[in-house]
């Protein structure tokens, strides 16, 4: 049985061929935009969309005085403790034991709090539909339960995506960094971000130059909320008791008004 799977993207190996993008679209049955035509590849700087669960973004960077180009595969990071799932009050987003964070449209209310919550800004909403869904990469949960790897990882011709149990993936990433310290920056993006994610990245260019959000807290995001939310029952009981006490105490001192008869409807006809 597959357990807590993960993926490693080695940015030094990605050539931006967009095979993963096509595989994702085919496996998940995502209709291309009519305006994109039949082109399978999008040629770089495309944003995630309800029908684009993974995209390749190209970045032109100066490194050692030379202009170089790097490609970043974007998709949901599948946090170990996802903010979106903690934000959902209908349990439409859930972290599965296999690793993927998946969306169940039957439960979704469409409030979009998950989109506010996501520290990476990944989720997309079908703004043009009367009953819109929140869509994002599902990490091909169906393939995972069959013991296969996600569609995108399976087709990558350059080995830029390595798939496996997350613990092993982390080891692999560390091994690569150690084996070639001159090439890599030494950082594993996703190891600690938002408490750790199922998708990890290593690169030879600093992540902030590749459009990664580098201000994501190391603490699991749901913990912030829970620190506040766990006071709720105490406030409910404590504040309720205090109010009742004050009510009874001051009531004894105050002469009770006969409220009825004090008020009357405003007579608007006089004007």
């Amino acid at each position: 049985m597959t357990r807590n799977m993960g993926a490693l993207v080695d940015i030094t190996k990605c050539i931006g061929c967009e095979s993963c993008v096509v595989a994702c679209r085919l496996y998940n049955g995502l209709e291309p935009d009519p305006k994109d035509g039949d082109r399978p590849a999008q040629g770089g700087n495309i944003e995630l969309a309800p029908n684009k669960w993974t995209v390749i973004q190209s970045h032109r960077i100066k490194k050692d005085g030379k202009q170089i180009r790097r490609f970043v595969k974007q998709q949901c990071f599948h946090c170990l403790e996802p903010a979106c799932a903690s934000a959902c009050f209908a349990k439409a987003l859930q972290k599965t034991p296999e690793g993927p964070v998946v969306y169940n449209e039957k439960l979704c209310v469409g409030c979009r709090y998950c989109m506010i919550a996501c520290p990476f800004g990944i989720l997309r909403f079908e703004w043009d539909k009367p009953f819109p869904r929140v869509l994002k990469c599902q990490m091909c949960l169906g393939r995972l339960t069959d013991g296969q790897m996600p569609a995108c990882a399976g087709v990558c011709p350059t080995g830029a995506i390595t798939f496996g149990e997350r613990d092993k993936i982390v080891e692999e990433a560390k091994k690569r960094l150690a084996s070639n310290p001159g090439l890599y920056t030494g950082q594993i993006y996703g190891l600690e971000e938002a408490g750790g994610t199922s998708w990890l990245y290593i690169s030879d260019v600093p992540f902030e130059q590749l459009g990664f959000k580098t201000d994501v807290p190391k603490k699991p995001i749901p913990e912030y909320t829970w620190q506040v939310l766990r006071w709720t029952p105490h406030i409910f009981v404590g504040w309720g008791a205090l109010l009742t006490g004050m009510y009874l105490y001051t009531k004894r001192r105050a002469v009770v008004h006969e409220e009825e008869g004090m008020y009357a409807p405003v007579d608007d006809d006089e004007k």
Binding site: E47, R112, I116, P132, T225, V228, P265
Partner: protein, 389 residues
Amino acid sequence: MQKKNWTFRITGFRLLLILFVITAVVVSLYRFIFGLGSVTNLNDQWPWGLWIGFDLLCGIALAGGGFSTALIVHVLHKEKYLPIARAALLTSLIGYIIALVSLFLDIGRWYNFWRPFFYWGYHSVLFEVFWCISLYTIVQIMEFGDIFFERVRFPSLKKILHATIPFWLIIGIVLPTLHQSSLGSLFVICANRLNPLWWSMIIPFFFVWSAFFLGPAMVTIEGTLAARAYRRTPELPVFSDLTRVTMWMMIVYLIVKVIDLNYRGVFSQAFNGSFESNMFLIEMIVFVLLPIVMYALPGIRNKLWGVFTASVLVVAGVVFNRMNVVFTGMAKSAGGHYFPSDWEILVTIGMWSALILIYCFVVENFPIIPKEDLVSHESSIAPGQSVQT
């Protein structure tokens, strides 16, 4: 009270408001058929816009007059403030209904709105907000039922309701305390998204505290406007007296804000000249410091124009704060662009027009506002003294 027929006089102004409401209804229907994207400028970077930011967040905050007045008048039994109690409750109730309607308009899969009641996503702040707002709206309807049955005679029901009123009152303060703060807690999750000038682990405190101190100011504004509309004497002594509550609470608010900024080491960010820092300074100086000073000066707070102007600043300040949290503070991390479309604005105008219309109808048909002959000597009644009619 003698029986009389339901009345609602139609004036030119009211016709205009009705027109706004009809427009909003038409736009809403269009939105339900063709989706949110067809009428709003919302996008993936800005999933929440005018309806959530203004109608819901500000609507609920402005309805804070309901629970702060209930606490002052009914729990602390400061009965010199009784004249404004029912009007505050009414505005609050209508405010909540409008907020709920806005929410319903804004959610994409609205036929699923009941799901959170049965799927216990208790780890979500929205879960608490949703439960509390729904329950509190019901509680307010119960509280209002006590008034409703003074007009619509139904003795047995009224008796039951009247006997249980203390329960509804207490629960009707606990619930809004929880969800007013939870509306702030919603943004705790935006740890790396909301600008640190507004993001804080104690943002729930700031939200509930400001919703509470806003109450008396809101009561002052609506009391003054209602008095003008119905050509009655405004309850100026009550307004002036209530400013003490708001003033002291705002002073505490300001002190806690400064301590919080220092504690998190972001105090200097308020003066770094960025757009966010300027908006923050405006919020603090114009909408917090200035009203505190105005309330502190007897020459201003004891005059109708003075107490009214300061109260407008307080209310505008809370709205300004919520807008800063939802828009200003999120702009940098969200990227992209959002400004409400004309349709969104029309729906919002329609919502608030409906609020005014319902307020007028209820006030003209139910015993909400003190009888005219009482008003003149109301201020001379000492606390605890019984009102003879």
